[in-house]
């Protein structure tokens, strides 16, 4: 077990290096760098532009830029944003609470919707209840969450004469104002992501309900509710946990569009702005960070398996 854990942790390194190389190369392949964008449209002499490039280290050979960056990271230094000049850590620190909180609320909502509905749909397979739940869940996959967001804003404005606040309040300052700003986006996102876990719950519970031990449990007279909750759901939980965790990892950086609709200053917006500005250091660190979250969550899921299912042992 210990050897397995160490091996898995070590395997993260090549994956993250792969991500680093890929991001680095893709960003340099994008035409136009930050200096060209800063001086776009103004009649600045070439010498100024060259000097600015030199100052930012963009005139060095690509290979050197890459090793410099890797060296920095090895020292635990993510560098400065080329656009604002603030340290990358600061830029991320401002936005992380919002993105993290939104991801947590949305995931909780998704689980609360998905688990019961998924189980009910499986138990009532091929009845109108099942059909209704499936239509509801496919709806979640089909309605663009940014559009649901628009409609919800429109609805609360016209019916309650209330619009979500434009400024984010940290939960430590004023929990009510904080929730007021996040609840609508959380619903829009949570509905979409509940759909994926709901479908997963339904199909795994269906599979487990056909197992021999479920028939045995029924045969010896165990109540149906106990059969479903203890025998079926517990055994169906593993793939569901996987899906939910991976979604959570994606939610932290992937909410680009929803943040736009609700005017939230989160990690997704930071990433899009960084790409637009060709802010190499910020993009690279951010992508690396998101990939690290993803890889670590992936690892954590495998560890949770052992707790949920004692039959699983990693050798």
């Amino acid at each position: 077990m210990r050897r397995y854990v160490i091996g898995r942790l070590l395997l993260m390194i090549p994956t993250l290096i792969g991500v680093a190389v890929l991001t680095f190369v893709i960003m340099r392949a994008v035409p136009g760098d930050i200096v060209a964008l800063q001086y776009a449209g103004s009649a600045v002499p070439q010498s100024v532009i060259d000097e600015q490039r030199h100052l930012l280290g963009l005139d060095k050979p690509m290979w050197n830029q890459f090793t410099d960056w890797m060296g920095q990271i090895a020292h635990g230094d993510l560098g400065q944003s080329l656009w604002t000049g603030h340290s990358v850590v600061d830029e991320i620190e401002i936005r992380l609470p919002l993105s993290l909180e939104l991801a947590v609320i949305a995931t909780l909502l998704a689980v609360v919707i998905a688990l019961p509905l998924g189980v009910v749909a499986a138990v009532k397979q091929d009845t109108w209840v099942d059909y209704a739940i499936r239509v509801f869940s496919i709806g979640g996959l089909s309605l663009p969450s940014f559009w649901i967001g628009l409609l919800m804003v429109l609805f609360t404005i016209t019916v309650f004469n209330w619009a979500p606040p434009l400024v984010f309040t940290p939960i430590t300052e004023d929990p009510v104002a904080n929730l007021a700003g996040l609840i609508l986006p959380a619903i829009a996102i949570g509905y979409r992501y509940s759909a994926v876990s709901m479908r997963m719950t339904r199909s795994t519970v269906l599979e487990v309900l056909r197992e021999d031990y479920v028939r045995t449990a029924r045969a010896k007279g165990v109540r149906e509710s106990v059969v479903v909750m203890r025998h079926a759901l517990r055994n169906a939980l593993l793939p569901v946990v996987t899906v939910i965790s991976l979604e959570f990892a994606f939610l932290i950086g992937g909410l680009v569009v929803t943040e736009q609709v609700f005017n939230l200053n989160g990690i997704g917006k930071l990433l899009v702005d960084a790409v637009a500005h060709r802010d190499y250091t910020l993009i690279q660190s951010l992508v690396l960070l998101l990939a690290a979250v993803f890889v670590i969550v992936n690892f954590a899921v495998d560890m949770i398996y052992v707790v949920l299912d004692p039959r699983i042992r990693y050798a």
Binding site: G18, L141, S142, L151, L154, T158
Partner: protein, 306 residues
């Protein structure tokens, strides 16, 4: 009830296996329509959308790009079924022509993405060993980015503009590839070790022939299922990218684009601008998802594509 359904399943399956060729095709779909009402509803939505796109010139009452300053922001009326936008363009006509953009981007990116993914998955499973490890690590790297982030990076790399719809297609294609490759590889792994593959090799078939003549046809079911699933996702992604200003450009009619500018700006004054394109996107994606879901149930109930 459960027993009844499963015996109906068995009978349908046997009838299907006994038939061949065109008969088999007809039988499969007749069965599909009879036993999967949700999937059939999805298919109807898809057909409606394809017809709208094909006959856009006939159906749309106005020119979708013609600016008309006499009718700015008109609410829905008999002349303008879904009202007009801030340029006086007819929303209904733009919606109908928008179906062309959505279907073009959707079909092109999911067909290319799924086919490339199929080839990578089959090659990975066939060769195994180091080739497999290398390809899978590469796919892992691609998978650790959120879909939209890869799409944005590709759009940024290739550039956006009025006539660059090909770049939008490429941006949506790239993130589809690793997702398909992984599922195809998993299915193909079960096939490459089967005795008939060994027999094929024994009679002297080469690697390419084995891969594409004998392995690929047997992973066609997951391929088809993912194709329909990603068609919906691709349409959704095109709408999202256009909404962010990174996709299709004005004046091309695109549903996401219609939501972006006017839909946001005139949300209170002209809500029809935000409602109509959103309904169109939702119904289109809904149709493909319903259809894909039932297709999965019919072809391969154990497959989990998420």
């Amino acid at each position: 009830m459960a027993e009844l359904v499963s015996s109906a399943d068995i009978i349908a399956r046997r009838r299907y296996l006994e038939s061949t060729g065109r008969r088999r095709f007809v039988r499969f779909w007749a069965d599909f329509v009879r036993r999967r009402p949700l999937g059939t509803a999805g298919a109807v939505l898809i057909v409606v959308m394809i017809v709208a796109a094909a006959l856009a010139g006939v159906i749309a009452p106005y020119d979708p790009v013609k600016i008309n300053f006499a009718d700015l922001l008109e609410p829905p009326s008999p002349e303008h079924l879904l009202g007009t936008d801030p340029f006086g363009r007819d929303v209904f006509s733009r919606l109908v022509f928008g179906a062309r953009t959505a279907l073009l981007v959707g079909f092109a990116s999911s067909v290319v993405g799924c086919s490339v993914g199929l080839v990578i998955g089959v090659v990975s499973a066939y060769f195994g060993g180091r080739v497999d490890t290398l390809i899978q690590r590469l796919m892992d790297v691609l998978l650790s980015f959120p879909l939209i982030v890869i799409a944005i990076a590709v759009v940024a790399a290739l550039g956006t503009g009025e006539d660059k719809i090909g770049n939008v297609i490429a941006a949506i294609t790239v993130p589809i590839i690793p997702r398909v490759a992984r599922v195809v590889r998993a299915s193909a792994l079960g096939i490459v070790n089967m005795p008939y593959i060994e027999a094929t090799r024994a009679v002297g078939s080469g690697g390419i022939r084995i891969m594409f003549r004998h392995v690929a046809p047997n992973v066609f079911a997951p391929y088809l299922i993912m194709l329909t699933a990603f068609l919906g996702q691709a349409i959704l992604l095109e709408a999202s990218l256009s909404f962010l200003g990174l996709g299709v450009f004005e004046p091309t009619p695109s549903w996401g684009l219609m939501l972006r500018g006017a839909g946001m700006q005139f949300l209170e004054r002209a809500p029809w601008l935000a409602v109509a394109p959103g309904v169109a996107i939702s119904l289109a994606v809904f149709g493909f998802n319903l259809f894909g879901d039932s297709l999965r149930d019919a072809l391969d109930p154990r497959l989990r594509t998420g």
